[in-house]
């Protein structure tokens, strides 16, 4: 085992200084070191998408990234997006549409949905489905999730007019 190394990064607008083992992945760092348990670990090899977080504005699978790679990075998790209110409308739409059941995939699903809406303000149902294909959900069958995102799209477009 190699000795821990220091890292400095911003997580949810908070400056973090920590000593981490080089092999520690970002998901485990967020969950075990910072107690940000809203980031979930489903497969630990980059397939299920449950650990999706935002790093320097891009969504990434935090199980495929080492914590030390986040040196000087800006990391945002579901806790940060919830506290800032950035996705409050999406969360409300998911709530109203019952677009989650067990909720395990949900934080990451919201991350992926918001990522899509930031790059495409008017996605089709097919484009929504395509963009969510890196995020597995075993409960809903996706239909309600697509509905919730679609209704958020409409609401945001109406607000923008």
């Amino acid at each position: 085992m190699i000795a821990p190394v220091p890292i400095t990064l911003i997580v949810n607008q908070e400056r973090i200084e920590a000593m981490v083992p080089p092999r520690l992945n970002l998901a485990d760092f967020l969950r075990d070191h910072l107690s940000l348990t809203g980031t979930h670990v489903g497969c630990e090899h980059g397939v299920c998408g449950a650990c999706t977080v935002r790093v320097n504005g891009d969504i990434v699978r935090s199980c495929l990234m080492l914590a030390i790679q986040a040196e000087n990075a800006t990391v945002e998790t579901i806790e940060g997006l919830s506290d800032s209110g950035e996705i409050a409308d999406l969360q409300m739409a998911f709530h109203q549409r019952n677009a989650l059941q067990c909720g395990f995939c949900t934080p990451a699903m919201l991350m992926a949905a918001q990522d899509l809406l930031l790059i495409n303000s008017e996605p089709s149902r097919d484009q929504i489905r395509e963009h969510l294909s890196g995020n597995y959900c075993r409960c809903t069958g996706y239909h309600a999730i697509v509905d919730a995102i679609e209704s958020t799209v409409r609401a945001r477009l109406e607000r923008a007019e």
Partner: protein, 795 residues
Amino acid sequence: MMPGMEGAGLSSLDRPNSYIGKVVPRPNMARLLEGRGQYVSDVALPRMVHAVFVRSPHAHARIASIDVSVAKAMPGVIAVMAGAELANVVSPWVGVLSHLKGLKSAPQHAIAVDRACWQGEAVAVVLAISRVLAEDAAEHVAVEYEPLPAVINTRTALDPATPVIHPELGDNLAFERKIDAGAVAAAFERSDKIVDVEFVFGRHTGVTLEPRSIVADWNAGDRRMTVYLGNQAPHMVQNIVAKHLDLEESQVRVLCKDVGGSFGLKVHIYADEMAVCGLSKLLRRPVKFVADRVESFNTDIHARDHICRGRIGVSHDGTINVFEIDDLTGVGPYSMYPRTSAVEANQVIILIGGPYTTPNYKGRTRVVFQNKNVMSQYRGVGHPIACSITEGLVDLAAQAIGMDPVEIRRRNLVRDDAYPCDSPTGLKFESLSHHASLDKLVAMMRYGDLRAEQTQLRKEGIYRGIGIASFIEVTNPGAAFYGVGGARISSQDGVAVRLDAAGAVICQTSVTEQGQGSESMTAQIVASAIGVSMEKVRVILGDTDNTPYGGGTWASRGTGIAGEAALQAAKVLRGNILATAAAILQGKPDDFDIIDGMIVDAHGQQRIELNELARIAYFRPDTLPPGFQPELMATRHYVPRQYPFAFTNGVQASWLEVDVITGKVKLLKHWVVEDCGTIINPQLVDEQIRGGVVQGLGAALFEHCIYDESGQLTNANMADYLVPMAAEMPDIEVGHQVSPTLETELGAKGAGEAGAAGAAACVSNAVNDALSPFGVTITEIPLTPKLILTALGRI
């Protein structure tokens, strides 16, 4: 009141502001949306250590020696243990039930002793201060194996030349059941056409997004074990943990907080989870285990994996004269404990032909042991197989006599006015709606238009298919499921409701929440029955210390059973509140009503708020009439007694396109009409249906645990084991018929497995419909491109 529910006996719920039949967002969702849920994998306790298991790489091997000395000396390691040592703390079990006659199995240990019987069975465990250090040390546990011949092929498991996995059992046959009803031979004889095919169902698994996780915390001071477990049946777990750790049940508390997907996979207690409980007792400190994804694939229960020969006899007029099946399934080396591994096969054999009038039926099912991971109950339990066989045969019969698939069903489905009636296998149907459901489905999907479109597209070389599947679903099981077989798995549920001192309602229920909406369902019923807003109701569940005793949430039983208990408890509390109101207001209880948290009199005059009533009852009882004691808490239990199960019914349809060049199937649309009786929350029911459908679609097209000939699971990861993704799934339209059960006041039946029951059958039928111009019939799932291209003779 909902359409079609007139006279359904809902008087106490048919009140102003009733939440019954309304779409209300689930109260518990907000925290999950903000990442504030608490799943077991999030639990951290002081002095907690992490367990990592060393697992057999062989399907079958004698464990010659285990050297733990190197691992024990590694950083952070607290203990390393093999099966024999742990067996002193956790006694072995045998997964049999007496009502599944003849079912046999062998003793299974928490960690294998002397012999590993499938690839993935735990042979040792490492405990360390962190998971990563435990994983490091696990790599240094030196296990010497002597490989034994493995029983892999289900078809040859009973051959005399095949080794017997548990010699003391005599053979590899775990369970066999035969049914012979009506006059089968004569029915075949008078049939104009007989279809005889073999159906093959791939082995698949639940793939809950949160892997199985447990924290066991033995408090030596209290002499109590607290088990944090994502599980659907906390009281069952309490019983099993106590029994095999030599504790009283009162010494075990099971806490089920947020659960990241369950689907039946988490209705069981697993050997490694029992090991963790034992280890906590040994080490006198909390022990945590979170399965990694490879472990999940190798140890979470698998399901299906049936090979079934099916025959159907039909007359030219479309009359289905007879069904016959011979089913074979391999369930791994042990029957799962305590629910066993024979239930799926038993469901298959009793459900075949269930929607139809056909009185002649012969069936045999055999359950065999093999050196693969254990199989047991997963969402739908036998229904998807019985439905696929039945509906596959019905479609093939229709094809044989040149009849439309809808028409043959209309001619054979049990009439909607024929109830109550029994099936040839002895199932009791109270009230089903096959014909009304089929009519609604045909209208929803515009069947005629689709057929025209299909014909037109075929001319252009585009091959689309329509598949239809009617089904019945077992819900609301009484004691017939497990209790009569000797398992201490409750079929009754209990609900306690109380008015707190500020006028809010606290409700404790024995069912659990895994996302299907148990909390919402309970709150909707309780709020409606008492006469308060849902915001005033808080539901507590998933805690054996703080809920009434009951079965939990599985087998589509939560709403039908615990919902009725909630209704009856709430009605008693309502009566007690009104009695208290009468005492305060010097009237008779019948003079008052509760509307939106307010006591009103016969003239509709608002008299006193519930919080004021509670204040008087709790803090100024001295002002009440002498001898009057307010009882602001009530508990009721319920279990169905009249019918062993409340059967539901439904019908599904799939519209898809097969690319005959690539063999790929594109799902275009899916429709479901189902009848779960009284609907408490239409949105929650629809989402249960949709989620179940997509699990069935996964089984139909993608999901497959692929073992090689040496018993190695070759695709034990999420990249190679395919589950449905958003882009591949169609929109799913859901409609309802409503035939309430009259056994309860609520009238609700279950809805959790209806989607899974029929989805794969529809897809198989639709693929065969699409490929009918090629004269190709495929009766195997998953329908992979390779399978389809092979059938088409293209590869």
